[in-house]
């Protein structure tokens, strides 16, 4: 790794960028433009935030605060848990632990660093991690492994039984950094008495592990507070996902990204709730005015992303969709399976039950085992509650014109079944595009090449033209 990369701590660097970025939104247009010129890599993203005013302000301020919490945790007497976006951070908030979610931090680096996160990804390889592993973890993990960021205190992995490459990354980091590790493990089924019992026992074991690391037991009052926020957030998300059904969709193209980022970073916090409220205000206004949410001004097609989005610098995916009038109908990352969500079938989702400590922990376990990817790729793709059923339910509800799979080459689990999924969806009449790019690493395939593949597909299938 270049020495220069170690000269500034990655996490502090991010914190300064987001802090300054969020302040620039408070100023006049002229002040904003002046500040914007100081971090050109983030320019397009900053423009987006500026355009969405209160939402943009809340997003950047929230992100800045989130990163600040990580870098100041030690001086505030709090522990930092190295963990994944697939784990609800709510338990960490309830136990006064700062959740360091490695994949969103990789995405944030891609958005704000001139050369993305490639060098940190490569550092993982230098010290022995598998080069074919998922880039979502390899990015930010590289900074932590290189000592270019504050060392976390322990590791919480939430993907054992779901994704080997993710779990291996956390197991590797725990060994390399000599940190205690807890792995939440999931059986191949999602529902049923046996699976419920497994989830609940495992979740309780995780609570015990965190309490051991922090020296503080779980405080029921704090957990209740967190669950109240979850409940509020759930209602807002469900309303938003309901509006998604409208044709044209009133939801601004990037809002699905904002929504899941919020849920990943601020699940169960007031900051998260407030931002979601701001987002809903924009959506409701669009509904009242009968306006499509996209910036093109007209809905030309509707796209269902069956896996991830693309996290290249400048958010090229959303810009592209906006420029073509294509509505983003959501991706795997924004399904949280609240029972009230429109795509959820009876008994498939969770409901918040705050009656007593046990029911609150059971709620958390039920929520956690339904996190994106944890829920739907744990078993065979065509088994009950799994990937194919999810996509069929979304299709029925949201009327997509086409489906898109994109992820990372590291995603062994989905690459093992995506051809079958695509074949099945095509058979059922849904045109499906498989993109071979790495959504966290544009060195694998540049965005312009990915865009060309999109355009070719849309042309050949006569969609949105």
């Amino acid at each position: 790794m270049r020495q220069a990369l170690l000269e500034y701590d990655y996490d502090w660097n991010m914190q300064r960028v987001f802090d300054q970025g969020s302040r620039s939104l408070d100023g006049t247009r002229k002040e904003f433009e002046r500040a914007r010129s100081r971090f050109p890599t983030m320019g397009t993203v900053m423009d987006l935030f500026y355009q969405y005013e209160d939402v943009g302000r809340a997003m950047t301020k929230g992100s800045a605060k989130y990163i600040s919490n990580i870098v100041t945790a030690r001086q505030d007497g709090r522990k930092v848990a190295l963990t994944t976006f697939c784990m609800s951070p709510a338990l960490c908030y309830a136990m006064d632990v700062v959740p360091l979610l490695i994949e969103p931090i990789t995405a944030v680096g891609n958005l704000s660093r001139k050369y993305g996160m490639g060098e940190f990804m490569d550092y993982c390889l230098e010290i022995g991690f598998a080069e074919t592993a998922c880039s979502a973890q390899r990015g930010a993990m590289g900074a932590y492994l290189a000592g270019a960021a504050q060392k976390p205190d322990f590791v919480l992995c939430n993907m054992s039984g779901i994704c080997d490459t993710n779990t291996s990354a956390f197991a590797f980091a725990a060994e390399a950094l000599d940190l205690p590790l807890f792995q939440c493990n999931f059986p191949p089924e999602m529902r049923g008495e046996r699976a419920d019992a497994y989830h609940r026992s495992d979740y309780r074991a995780m609570i015990d592990f965190i309490a051991e690391q922090t020296g503080k037991p779980l405080d029921p009052a704090k957990l209740r507070g967190v669950l109240e926020e979850i409940q509020k957030q759930d209602e807002l998300i469900v309303e938003m996902q309901d509006y998604q059904r409208m044709i044209p969709s009133p939801i601004p193209t990037t809002f699905n990204l904002f929504m899941y980022l919020l849920r990943f970073l601020f699940g169960g916090t007031e900051d998260g709730t407030k931002t979601l409220e701001e987002m809903l205000k924009v959506i409701r206004k669009n509904v009242q005015e009968g306006r499509p949410g996209n910036r093109f001004g007209e809905e030309k097609a509707r796209a269902l992303f069956v896996y991830t989005d693309h996290y290249g610098g400048g958010l090229p995916l959303w810009n592209f969709l906006d420029s073509r009038g294509i509505t983003h109908l959501g991706c795997i990352a924004d399904r949280f399976y609240q029972q009230a969500a429109p795509y959820v079938r009876d008994g498939e989702g969770y409901t918040v039950d705050a009656t007593d400590l046990d029911s609150m922990i059971d709620t958390m376990a039920a929520l956690n085992c339904r996190m994106p990817m944890v829920k739907q790729i744990r078993g065979p793709y065509d088994a009950p509650d799994m990937w194919l059923e999810e996509i069929r339910a979304q299709r029925e509800l949201y009327n997509p014109d086409f489906a898109v799979y994109m992820g990372t080459p590291g995603c062994r689990n989905t690459w093992g079944m995506v051809k079958l999924l695509a074949k099945q969806l095509e058979k059922e009449g849904l045109p499906t595009l498989i993109i071979n790019a790495d959504v966290f690493d544009e060195r694998v395939e540049s965005w312009s090449m990915t865009q060309a593949r999109f355009e070719e597909f849309l042309d050949v299938r006569r969609i949105g033209i």
């Binding site: 592993a133 054992s160 197991a171 590797f172 792995q183 026992s201 079944m417 079958l420």
Partner: protein, 386 residues
């Protein structure tokens, strides 16, 4: 050495299977060392560990699996698609790793295009990735359901008596294979790594009641043999699946001898016994879940490192070759940790990434292995055998 070992190691089908089938007996294939074969054997059937050996292409495998997938399950699917596993009466799928778990869907889908390649009995076994009270309970229930499924599908009863006998039989195999490990690790070892691997692999492709007596004979023969691999560099082979002799043959052709291993299919698979008195599904589950020598059992790196160290010491190893099939997340990342730790202990170690199958990239591997062996200092005191 009995030629059946080589035949069984080198071919998907072998004489013992043909005779077994000729008697009207059943064969159940599976994909993972976490499948409790004792249950299958107690039903009077033969467990068979699936391998993709003898594949000459992955054209069928590539049709169903995506591109970034380990070539081992692809090769198995290839053989299945070609009808090579049509002798199977059943198959057990396991979420061993992310590549292998998708063999379930891909094989089922391939059956639409190649009808008749799917065995009549099809079972998905959910093996947890940790060994704690609730995962042991889960797994014991999985084994119970597996047992019931076999009983119902084949209209047989797995009696306690048969289960007990089967456990004893399997423990005997493990004991004998451990003896083989000791012989192989001797100074001036009388057995090449290639030959030892053939003997081990043959055990995955024949019933243990046939295998154990053959294995005992082989051990007697080896013990009576004059030493003949003295003076060579002694290698421990670690990492992911090695289910044919080709890689070991390259290592040994370069002048070394493989005296120990911790590979999948190799000697790590016979670590640990099932308690013989009062067997229950829980005690069987205990053996298989506490079997933490595969990195799919996350968080046990130190135990696996300890196993390498123990084997290195017993077999007086000069260097360690850590290999993994490309796209193997589990072994790929752990091999990096092993290599660093071994190097810090002063043990020469190398990591190799390769494709599955009979030396898909032989030239490259030969060069790297040769260079690695050359770099190992001559420090052995062992004299070449006369």
């Amino acid at each position: 050495m009995n030629p059946i070992f080589e035949e069984a190691a080198d071919h998907v089908d072998n004489q013992v299977i043909r005779e077994w089938k000729a008697q009207g007996k059943k064969v159940i294939g599976h994909t993972c060392s976490h499948v409790p074969e004792e249950i299958i054997s107690a039903a009077g059937m033969m467990p068979y560990r699936l391998r993709g050996i003898e594949s000459e292409s992955t054209s069928i495998g590539d049709t169903y699996f995506g591109p970034f997938i380990c070539s081992c399950p692809k090769a198995i699917l290839q053989k299945a698609g070609e009808g090579a596993f049509n002798f199977l009466d059943g198959a057990v799928m396991v979420q061993s790793c992310d590549s292998m778990r998708r063999l379930d869907e891909c094989w089922r889908a391939a059956n639409d295009d190649y009808p008749g390649i799917l065995p009549g009995f099809w079972h998905y076994l959910g093996v947890p990735h940790k060994a704690v009270d609730y995962s042991l309970k889960w797994f014991s229930e999985e084994i119970e359901m597996f047992k019931k499924h076999i009983e119902e599908h084949f209209n047989v009863t797995i009696t306690e008596e048969n289960l007990r006998k089967s456990i004893t039989l399997y423990n005997e195999t493990r004991d004998l294979l451990k003896e083989l490990d000791e012989v192989r690790g001797m100074e001036n070892t009388p057995v090449s790594g290639q030959e030892a691997m053939n003997i081990i692999l043959a055990g995955t492709a024949m019933p243990k009641e046939v295998y154990n007596p053959l294995l005992r004979e082989a051990l007697d023969e080896l013990k009576a043999r004059p030493a003949h691999h003295g003076g060579k560099k002694r290698i421990l082979l670690g990492g992911s699946v090695v289910d044919d002799q080709s890689l070991i043959s390259v290592i040994e052709a370069e002048g070394a001898v493989v005296v120990a291993d911790t590979v999948c299919f190799g000697s790590r698979s016979f670590e640990g016994m099932v308690p013989e008195d009062s067997p229950t599904m829980l005690t069987i589950a205990g053996r298989y879940l506490h079997h933490q020598f595969c990195p799919r059992m996350f968080g046990h790196y130190k135990d696996r490192m300890a196993l390498i160290k123990q084997k290195m010491e017993l077999a007086k190893v000069d260097g360690v070759i850590l290999q993994n099939i490309r796209f193997c997340d589990l072994h790929g990342s752990e091999n990096g940790l092993f290599e660093a730790e071994l190097e810090s202990m002063g043990v020469p170690a190398i990591r190799l990434e390769r494709e599955y199958g009979a030396m898909a990239d032989e030239g490259r591997l030969r060069m790297r292995i040769g260079a690695f062996l050359e770099s190992i200092p001559e420090r052995r005191t062992e004299k070449p055998a006369a």
